[in-house]
């Protein structure tokens, strides 16, 4: 075989073929990423109609376990807290004036403040709007106000 400083024809073909093979593989991989990008589940609803403002009188605390959230009329101001434990996502339970998590024993007061760990963060405050027709709408994706 002749020693040559240049890329031989055979080496060139071999290199190109390998490169093309790799490119085909990358294209396939790209398709695979696209394939898995589809989200079959639309996710849970983020808006809930709470009904008439009048059904939440001053001082009342109402549980809506389907959201799950507690709606509290604090001297005319309506606030809502998520009942999802900020530790690992169990639904917390009403315990007198407080909330207790059945999973790992975290406790929160009625304003969502942590009384006892392992939870670190207070309960998520949910946005509540009064609509034109005097009904309430709650948004679970609005974050803290």
């Amino acid at each position: 075989m002749n020693e040559t400083p240049y890329l031989s024809r055979r080496d060139f073909i071999k290199f190109s073929t390998h490169a093309l093979f790799g490119l085909a593989g990358l294209l396939g991989l790209g398709g695979l990423v696209r394939y898995f990008s589809y989200l079959p589940d639309p996710g849970p609803p983020t808006e809930f109609d709470l009904g008439d403002v009048a059904s939440y009188p001053v001082g009342s605390r109402s549980l809506r376990l389907d959201i799950p959230a507690v709606i509290h009329n604090r001297e005319g101001e309506i606030v809502a807290y998520s009942l999802i434990c900020t530790h690992l996502g169990c639904t917390i339970e009403n315990d007198g004036d407080e909330f207790a998590c059945p999973c790992h024993g975290s406790r929160f007061d009625k304003n969502g403040v942590v009384l006892k760990g392992p939870a670190q963060r207070p309960l998520q405050k949910l946005r509540v709007n009064v609509l034109e027709d005097n009904t309430l709408r709650l948004y679970t994706d609005g974050g803290r106000k």
Partner: protein, 576 residues
């Protein structure tokens, strides 16, 4: 002084107007019609709202639906899908406003007219409406079955689909450039927006192009090697090690082997990969199976390609395996010492047919309905054990959720595991039995050998070419899918077996179901299996070429069997 008459006139006008207004309110309040109290708008006649929607060219499906809606549905359901509200009723010319009392097209009431239901016509657009329909297919079924009111069921399926598209548009679900059909409607939800994926064609064509260039490169490399400069110093990799260091050149002739065994392995690999991918989105429950398949095809990026690759590879596999069987028989290669491997191969064919049938049933759509019922009932006809076998396969007294779970489990696990073991065993036995059948060394005319480097190169080249063919085929020809199973469509659904069992369906027309539907197919497999043990075999020096004289009887028999099956299949396909 001159002002007084004017003042009196104004007062009279005002009072008169009030009286008139009061009277007309009284009049319009009389029909006891379901009224939307929230929208007690001023009675206004608005010709613009009643006008025919402008024609659009080229019309989207929803544009066609808009025309039909205007002609047949709008009078009751409203121009915005608000339903028969007071506000909508008042947009009509006054003397047409109470046609729900007189009957519509009311002069000849009740002969050719109809009464509007006393409950009024429901709203079909807006939040909270259409709550009982989860997808476009259900909406379409309802429209076609129950609408219009005069008389229900008079719409064609196509009209009902364009109306479905229009109702979705009224609900702000635009499907630009997408045509709703029976085969994709259940993938389109009514209550949430979906993103239709971009076309998979450009990406796939780029891949095809790259693969073709790769094939050219591989071909150049192989030719280079063939010229004698084979790099024996190259370190063999894992795939090289799956092959012997070198094999006689005549064992690797494409015109001798047809490459059928290798192609079967390649197609099986495609099936394994695409099948795994489908499992990420397929939902094996009776209510969701067909919907999830339609979702893969319609909404998942490249999902249509993945499913088509799976489907077409499976169909090609049956053909390639039949060719492989034919090759082995027509070259006499199945004789001892390869006769056990021949049986393994036959077993594989049976496994693949069962995999194809279970995979076909997993669609769980209108198309599989009767094939499943017939196939299952055939099991019942087996003497003594029939009921037990039926129970084992179907998991109940009739096909239901348990059937789907069992077929799914068999398809993705039981049969796949069995077939995988058989493939590996079959490939191992090929090598163990001395490779592809050729005469013993002393009888060989050609002494050339090829190295495993060249052999692997040829194999990869064949795979790349086959890959391009399967890819292009899958891009062009869609795999069959139909709407989800519903009672309404039981009569119209396809009653044909999948193509690879059409011959059995034709046999079944001859009479006794056990004799023709179970015994005969099993007999065919047994006869094929007995060939090397019962009939004369090809002599060893005749091996390595087509049509040796030693096993002429077996060749004739197998060709006859395959021709009969082929003829029955064609007959079944055209008789429909």
């Amino acid at each position: 002084m001159p002002r007084y008459p004017a003042l009196i006139a104004v007062i009279i006008l005002v009072f008169g107007g009030m009286l008139f207004a009061f009277a007309s309110v009284q009049a319009s309040a009389t029909p006891p019609i379901a009224a939307d109290t929230a929208s007690q708008a001023t009675p206004t006649f608005d010709i613009a709202r009643l006008a025919q929607p402008p024609t659009v060219f080229p019309p989207a499906q929803a544009d066609n639906g808009a025309q039909t809606y205007w002609g047949m549905c709008m009078a009751c359901h409203g121009d915005r899908g608000q339903g028969l509200t007071e506000e909508w009723r008042n947009s009509f010319v006054p003397d047409q406003r109470d046609c729900w009392q007189s009957g519509c097209h009311g002069s000849d009431y009740p002969e050719n007219s109809f009464e509007i239901p006393t409950a009024g016509a429901p709203a079909i657009a807006g939040s909270g409406k259409l709550a009982r329909f989860s997808n476009a297919f259900e909406l379409h079924s309802h429209i076609q079955k129950n609408m219009p009111f005069f008389p229900p069921g008079s719409l064609t399926s196509e009209e009902a689909w364009s109306l479905t598209a229009y109702v979705l548009r009224l609900n702000d679900r635009q499907l630009a450039g997408f045509t709703l059909k029976g085969i994709n409607g259940s993938a389109i939800p009514v209550h949430r927006k979906v993103n239709l994926p971009e076309s998979e064609i450009p990406g796939s064509l780029i891949l095809v192009g790259v693969l073709i260039l790769t094939a050219i490169g591989l071909n150049l490399q192989i030719n280079r090697n063939h010229a004698g400069s084979i790099a024996l110093s190259v370190r063999p990799n894992f795939f090289h090690h799956l092959h012997p260091p070198s094999i006689p050149a005549e064992q690797s002739r494409f015109r001798y082997t047809l490459g059928a065994g290798g192609l079967a392995v390649f197609l099986s690999l495609i099936l394994l990969v695409t099948g795994l991918l489908e499992m990420y989105y397929y939902v094996p429950t009776p209510g969701q199976a067909a919907i999830s398949v339609e979702t893969i095809v319609t909404l998942v990026p490249f999902g249509n390609l993945v499913r088509n690759l799976h489907y077409w590879s499976a169909q090609f596999l049956v053909i390639v395996m039949t060719l492989h069987l034919l090759r082995v028989v027509l070259t006499g290669a199945y004789a001892s010492p390869r006769r056990f491997n021949y049986l393994l191969g036959l077993g594989l064919l049976v496994f693949i047919l069962l995999l194809n049938f279970t995979g076909y049933v997993l669609r769980w759509d209108e198309g599989i309905r009767w094939a499943l019922v017939v196939g299952a009932n055939l099991l019942k006809t087996i003497p003594w054990i029939g009921d037990g076998v039926y129970q084992f396969v179907i998991g109940g007294s009739e096909p239901g959720p348990a059937t789907l779970t069992r077929f799914y489990t068999w398809h993705i696990f039981g049969l796949t595991l069995g077939a995988s073991i058989l493939i590996i065993w079959h490939a191992f036995r090929v090598r163990r039995d001395g490779g592809i059948a050729v005469p013993p060394p002393s009888e060989r005319k050609e002494k050339n050998r090829i190295t495993r480097f060249e052999l692997l190169g040829r194999e990869v080249l064949t795979m790349v070419i086959a890959g391009v063919v399967v890819l292009l085929f899958s891009l062009i020809v869609p795999a069959p899918i139909e709407g989800p199973i519903s009672d309404a469509s039981a009569i119209t659904s396809d009653s044909r077996a999948p193509w690879f069992f059409l011959w059995v369906q034709q046999l079944l027309k001859l009479g006794d179901p056990f004799l023709w539907g179970v015994f005969t197919p099993v007999l065919v497999v047994i006869v094929l299996g007995l060939l090397p043990y019962v009939l004369p075999n090809a002599r060893s020096e005749e091996l390595g070429r087509w049509l040796p004289s030693g096993n002429r009887i077996a060749q004739a028999l197998v060709v006859l069997i395959i021709l009969v099956i082929l003829a029955l299949t064609v007959l079944g396909a055209v008789s429909g």
